[in-house]
Amino acid sequence: MLIINDISKTFNPGTVNEKTALSHLSLTVNDGDFISIIGSNGAGKSTLFNAIAGSFMTDEGRIVLDGVDITMTPEHVRARSIGRLFQDPQKGTAPDMSIEENLALAAGSGGWLSRLSRRERSDLRERVAVLGMGLEDRMSSPVGLLSGGQRQALALLMATINPPKLLLLDEHTAALDPATSEKVGELTDKIVATNRLTCLMITHNLTSALQQGNRTLMMEGGRIILDISGSKRDGMVVDDLLEMFKTEAGHKLDNDRILLAR
């Protein structure tokens, strides 16, 4: 369970570029929740993820993951329990290293001086085969030679190879072509379901925001302005969502990608 209590973050305080990216935001994520997050450009969606993952420390508030206060824990330590995927497929993998080496680093079993054993190798191969992309036969080729979709699928596998307590997906299919995007989306659902992962997903696709997962959040001005789940969410269509946003935020949803995607 993730409890975010009253966090705020202001960038460049005291300058002309001062920007309040998160403003007294609170959120409780229950185990097994699959939450989709939508919002305008600059609403603070990615900033929220950065705060949870520890890319920066928040100015105030507390973040507690499974009973452990991680508010001031450095990013690489949080990464042990938080998996993360970015929109840019290049961010999640090391291009000059092989598929196997990337996975070995993510799996992180054994001590610092340990090397991959034969058994670990075949284990990794089996895990890659699950992706259904034929990558299991290219274990020693460098990741830089893979397509964006393959790299993102691999990054997804790396982020979940040790099932994390929390998985953060930041528009991870947005940079892919439609067919690949769908394939990676399906893989995500499959991996989240088999490992019963708790998951937050930023998306610009309002349809999938309502269809995927069990709960939808809307963000605006560094706050969560809508939190819908259960029976209220079940009957909703995209237009309801847009109407609700307008009522809550006082203006129309302003996200070029969302509007283009409709």
Binding site: A53, P74, E75, H76, V77, A79, R80, G83, R84, F86, Q90, K91, G92, T93, A94, P95, D96, M97, E101, N102, A104, L105, A106, G108, G110, G111, W112, L113, S114, R115, L116, P142, M158, A159
Partner: protein, 301 residues
């Protein structure tokens, strides 16, 4: 011709240790470690002082430990103290100049003509089996093989993979729960140990150290590294390591031959600088050429 070849091989193998160090820091960790010159001299100075005090074997270990310490400080400056990585190397280099003279007891030159070094020890041994004169080749060869093999195995361990990933994609390292500060520190400690070993062996093989022994070493080593990578274009770590050692040897061989054709010895550093410039800016200029050609065409019209 044969003695010429042997000298080039010996010097090439000794300097290949520095080139392997740069392979780790420059090619793998993506840090341009400009403290290399100072660290090379540090290894030479520490090795000489310990050998002169009567411990030929310990001198090699002492030099490497000094290298680790130097690498640690350089890495600490750039990861924990907010000093830019190039600047950290330059500052360390300057600081090491004083440190090195201090280690050599205030003098800028130490003589080891009558000192027991690992080379004289082996020479004594080899004279029993009629192989006198090969001690430099044996020691530099064994050192290069050990360091190359160590590097090969090291880069396949988990820490080795983490170091490679740090140079390749720091974002990914952080999200795979590895601390890039730690990998940078470990990487520079190991690479500087090799650099210092290289300096120690060069000083002991030529039986003297002066404070300038390491000057320009980073450029010479980079030149060798880049020569090696043009000869062996594999992406596999093992081949790249072999290419690195090969590059160091080819560089020395060409240099030795050039000396034979009356190139003055002081040209070494100019030549290595030109090689580095060509190797680095060549691919860049090549990528800019189409644009350049179009502009030229437009001008003509």
């Amino acid at each position: 011709m044969l003695p010429l070849f042997q000298t080039a091989l010996e010097l090439g193998l000794i300097s290949s240790l520095t080139v392997l160090a740069l392979f780790l820091s420059y090619s793998m960790l993506n840090v341009c470690d400009l403290s290399t010159d100072g660290c090379f001299t540090l290894g030479a100075a520490v090795g000489a002082v310990v050998a002169i005090s009567g411990h030929p074997y310990l001198s090699v270990i002492a030099a490497m430990v000094a290298g680790v310490a130097s690498g640690f400080i350089t890495a600490f400056l750039q990861t924990r103290m907010g000093v830019d990585s190039l600047l950290a190397g330059i500052i360390m280099n300057t600081a090491l100049y004083s440190v090195n003279i201090g280690i050599m007891g205030g003098s800028s030159l130490l003589n080891m003509n009558r000192t027991d070094t690992i080379f004289t020890k082996l020479s004594d041994l080899l004279s029993g089996i009629n192989l006198t004169g090969f001690e430099k080749l044996v020691i530099s060869g064994v050192a290069a093989v050990i360091v190359a093999a160590f590097l090969y195995l090291f880069l396949k361990t988990k820490i080795g993979l983490a170091i490679r990933a740090t140079g390749n994609n720091p974002d990914m390292v952080r999200s795979s729960s590895v601390n890039p500060v730690m990998t940078t520190i470990v990487g520079l400690c190991v690479s500087n140990a090799f650099t210092a070993l290289s300096g120690c062996l060069l000083a002991q093989s030529q039986k003297s150290v002066n404070i300038d022994i390491g000057s320009g070493m980073v450029t010479v080593a980079l030149a060798s590294l880049l020569i090696g990578s043009t000869f062996i274009r594999s992406r596999r770590i093992g081949f790249r390591i072999i290419g690195t050692v090969l590059g160091a040897f080819i560089f020395r061989l060409v240099y030795t031959i050039a000396l034979r054709f009356n190139m003055p010895a002081y040209m070494l550093k100019l030549v290595s600088s030109v090689i580095v410039i060509i190797a680095i800016s060549g691919p860049y200029l090549k990528s800019r050429y189409p644009e350049f050609a179009r502009r030229l065409e437009k001008k003509r019209c």
